[in-house]
């Protein structure tokens, strides 16, 4: 079996993404979606409902009363926020474990995923871009390929780091050169297998803007910038560190100045403790 075949086999070992994620994304993709459809989907998933209520009643929101049902949760926190919590809880199973190949301790990749998702959603809000939930989910799951590649990166770590330290390679360029595939390409494969929309597959596959020939979609730029902000802030980054390519065109596409970028970092930094609390729930 070639390494590539071995890697593809590893995809089967991922915990499947809960069906509810695709159901939610499908419903909200329709122009005039029905709110009741959505709350029903959530309501009939007892596991998710339980997790949802736990988050709603945590110190993160510090509500002055207890939220007892999905309906209740929607009326108190708003539909957007509830969908985010549900999506967040659905992504956790795969992303929480440690990834030794990337020198990421338990919870670090998860911290990075959640922070990216929150920053991406805030950016979409700020720039008045639709598709917020898709952007949130794509940002959350963009590094799913790392979970599969982890073991292989670990085995070839010295070779990969040699190219990064001495040959001007980005970490993912070195992944590709040494292992034959990078974590974004693998993420794209997983996204296809999980039945995500073509746009979401595109965002996950191109979240480092590594497909040079193409102008990216605005959603991809948002997820890209959120990822870069997390790297700069050092949130859940491992041995790959900041060894990725910076593309100013993403900031230009969204009309983000250097001052505005710093403002976004400051805003997120201010609420970071809250995010850390959210991760513990």
């Amino acid at each position: 079996m070639s390494i590539y075949e071995k890697i593809l086999n590893e995809i089967d070992n991922l915990k499947p993404i809960p069906a509810i994620v695709n159901q939610i994304l499908e419903i909200i993709e329709e122009d005039n979606f029905n709110m009741e459809d959505l709350s029903e989907v959530i309501q009939f998933d007892p596991l998710i409902t339980g997790k949802l209520l736990k988050v709603c009643n945590s110190a993160y929101y510090s509500l002055n009363r207890t939220v007892e049902s999905v309906q209740d949760a929607i009326s108190v926190l708003g539909l957007d926020e509830i969908i985010n919590i549900v999506l967040l809880k659905s992504g956790a199973a795969n992303l929480q474990k440690n990834q030794a190949g990337y020198d990421l301790n338990e919870g670090e990749l998860w911290k990075h995923a959640v922070s990216s998702a929150i920053i991406a959603k805030n950016l979409a809000d700020k720039k008045e871009i639709d598709n917020k939930q898709m952007i949130f989910t794509a940002a959350l799951l963009k590094d799913i390929g790392k979970i599969i590649l982890n073991q292989f990166v670990g085995e070839s770590f010295t070779k990969i780091m040699y190219l990064v330290d001495n040959k001007g390679f980005s970490f993912m360029e070195a992944e590709k050169k040494i292992i034959g595939v990078n974590h974004a390409e693998l993420g794209e494969k997983v996204a296809k297998i999980w039945g995500f929309s073509s746009k979401m597959i595109e965002v996950i596959g191109n979240h480092h803007l590594s497909k040079p020939s193409k102008e990216a979609e605005i959603e991809t730029y948002i997820v890209y910038i959120a990822d870069n902000i997390c790297m700069m802030m050092g949130i859940g980054i491992g041995a790959d560190g900041l060894a990725y390519r910076f593309h100013e065109k993403a900031l230009k596409a969204l009309d983000i100045s250097s001052i505005e970028l710093q403002g976004i970092i400051a805003d997120f930094g201010e609420n970071y403790q809250q995010v850390e609390n959210l991760l513990k729930i």
Partner: protein, 159 residues
Amino acid sequence: MKVIIGVSDMKVSDNPDETLITYSLGSCIGVIVYDPEAKAGGMLHYMLPDSTIDKVKAEKNPFMFADTGIPNLFKSTYKLGAKKNRMRVVIAGGSQILDQKGFFNIGKRNHTSLRKMFFKNNVITDYEDIGGNVNRTIRLDIATGDVYIKTSGKGEAKV
């Protein structure tokens, strides 16, 4: 005992049982000061170069910015009996994403901002581990003043 300094955070100590530590510096910069005679020191982890982008936030949390955080670190350490002329200063972080240039290069600007302030105030660093595209964790042992820098994927070394 481990005392964790978060992002946009600062702590000082003269408790010999304590080790100050800050994790995962990307473009942020960690500043360590230590007076071996007073056996007192401090650590700052700031994110951004310049507080003029948001005065309100700087007032609420001066440790977010270089220009408000650094003076605060020095003054807080003086309160524990540390003297500027005896202090060792170590800085680490300020990493950059590949090809990150100009105004968007937060890591480099974080470093420039610090250098300007140190130059004006006659502070000389004893050790700098700045730039590149790595992720660093730093710690300061209050009893000895020993400083350790861990680079993710490359292990830890004493400065």
